[in-house]
Subunit: 404 residues, 2 copies
Amino acid sequence: MSMKKLLLLAVVVILSNYAYAQQALWGGQEIVSPEINPDNTVTFRYVAPKAIRVQVTGDFLPSEKVQTPMGEFDGPGFADLVEGENGLWEFTTPFSLTPELYSYSFIVDGLKTHDPNNVYQIRDVASVTNIFIMNDGRDGLYGVKDVPHGSVTRRWYDSPGLQCQRRITIYTPPGYENSNQSYPVFYLLHGSGGDEEAWIALGRASQILDNLIAQGKAKPMIVVMPNGHTQNPAAPGESSHGFFKPRMGGGPREAVASMEDTFGDILKFVESNYRVKKNKANRAVAGLSMGGMHSSRISAQYPNTFDYIGIFSAPPVVTTMRSGNQDPNAEKEFMKKLETQKKNGYKLYWIACGNTDFLYNGVIESMKKMDEINFPYVYRESSGGHTWDNWRIYLTEFAPMLFK
Amino acid sequence: MSMKKLLLLAVVVILSNYAYAQQALWGGQEIVSPEINPDNTVTFRYVAPKAIRVQVTGDFLPSEKVQTPMGEFDGPGFADLVEGENGLWEFTTPFSLTPELYSYSFIVDGLKTHDPNNVYQIRDVASVTNIFIMNDGRDGLYGVKDVPHGSVTRRWYDSPGLQCQRRITIYTPPGYENSNQSYPVFYLLHGSGGDEEAWIALGRASQILDNLIAQGKAKPMIVVMPNGHTQNPAAPGESSHGFFKPRMGGGPREAVASMEDTFGDILKFVESNYRVKKNKANRAVAGLSMGGMHSSRISAQYPNTFDYIGIFSAPPVVTTMRSGNQDPNAEKEFMKKLETQKKNGYKLYWIACGNTDFLYNGVIESMKKMDEINFPYVYRESSGGHTWDNWRIYLTEFAPMLFK
């Protein structure tokens, strides 16, 4: 074969054959799924000539009650795809979808499977699901827009308190690298199912911040996303513990100290490695679920450190979880810390919860206790439950209130 | 319900019920797959009580010939899982696996599906497959070890040549942030199927560099991983083009200029934003497949800029691809550039290819042309083909030769 012919073949092969072969071998298909239609309905497609039943399940469908040994649970709904020609199954939502990030899976003859035509997925604890975003999400804030972008860095900090190097995710706002300016810092904490990747992957934090900053709605700020599981140096797969199976709240070793007791390591790392404003008016801490409890405890334990505290979907007054027992003095001690925090003052203590959240009653009970000592807070009640769509919304609402 | 009981319930729910419900709803299962056995065989498991046939396909199995309209193709092999009790299918490799990163999928009654017990996946073009790493991979270099870690940053640079902001991945070595030292720079380019995420996700570049540097085998260096598709501002899903379906070499818009013509934008960005040694002895460029061709063209077009050039699995003398036609003068002009490059000198021109690579003959032909002008190079022939296992190996061999 001549050189020219060979190279031409190479070009063709690189551009098409390999892709073709990969599809043939790895099961990719030349169909579009999901397809977002002009009327904001969405069509799902799946090729399965031999299947008997193909369903889609996801949070874009009305939730359904599921019975578990622990009680009734609101879960994502289900819908049947209908088989057409050549084994192509299809389902179009009978309603328009509002702007949001949605996740879904197919169920083929009872087995969960991914959509082979959609490479976009996120992991939540040990579940990986496909995702799509309608119209750039809530208020158009979840999509990547043509605006200046911040940088997202995964790096490692030294935690003497936890006796190891730990992985941390840092968002620096657009322009950080090319200025001499100092910035405020927002510590943003994940829940029991998450890690230092959660707010970036599930929370769309970098897109939300980029877009809010571009619109002038949020101040340029550094966002610090540490790993809140003190028994883990890093997210699953990102440490020397290897590719272990993620589980709620779990990790490969015992924790030697709590998040609040070792938060000083993170504070010190950030304030000595970044150009930050080192005062209370320029520090915020917020988190979801377990991260909300961390935020209440951290802000109470460092009582003159944060002017902005956000508690998403978690009761701020929680004392039983920390030690694992029900020490009757624990709550009394924690309330004393809140008294000190109140005396020292702060600008915003923001509590947000969905009205169907399984922690809703705990949040209400917590606020009653805070009322007893006239502890000022702002309460934001949303619809919905203990889910990422609420946490993204809370972030879009909380970030604009910071450092003003 | 008392507050205490409620909180205790909340704890239990957070730690177990939600996970349980998620499993029930989303299909997670409490089995281990893949399981790496003490004798370095691997067991795959999949629960499918109603399935008729469950197979596993992956690059850990002996490759099989596949017929396609474009000719015969070496593809990953297949093996059958055997059904045991309660619909649990199982397959254990009849051989030990060598240290490597392997990818696989299940095929259930003819449909490709993911392993629901393994959250670790990588995307290659439009295919997403599960992965596992045997014994930290080749020479133990692919795993995350307890060694000092570099930082990996996704940020955006301005490309006047491409009239847009573009996303780029930068690895800075351990200690970069806490020193005043300047570092050498290694520009590491992906292939037609990749983007600025490819070398990090598929290439394990940050782990390989961390480990080589910790062992004293590679000099601390900055590794710059740009997006080589000039029609794309960023990887699929990471730009305002949204969640489009990735395809080989494709992008959502027309390219306004080539990689080599706009490489200066990247060079300028890196050298004005990082503490780098700005001379030829401290610059390297290498890439795989399309990125190898980019590396030959970039190093020829900036002929006194790089002392280290690496061409992985690509013919260095390729002139037809650039313009898309077979201009008879193109090759002559390129050979002239190589003459200049030779005259200016360099320390290492490293060409690596697998002996079953479909571009193998092109690589051999290219070297003959280079021999005609006595263009010095080092040739490394490996076994295997046009695959990521080879590209990871080439990186582990090339990086230690740099900046010495």
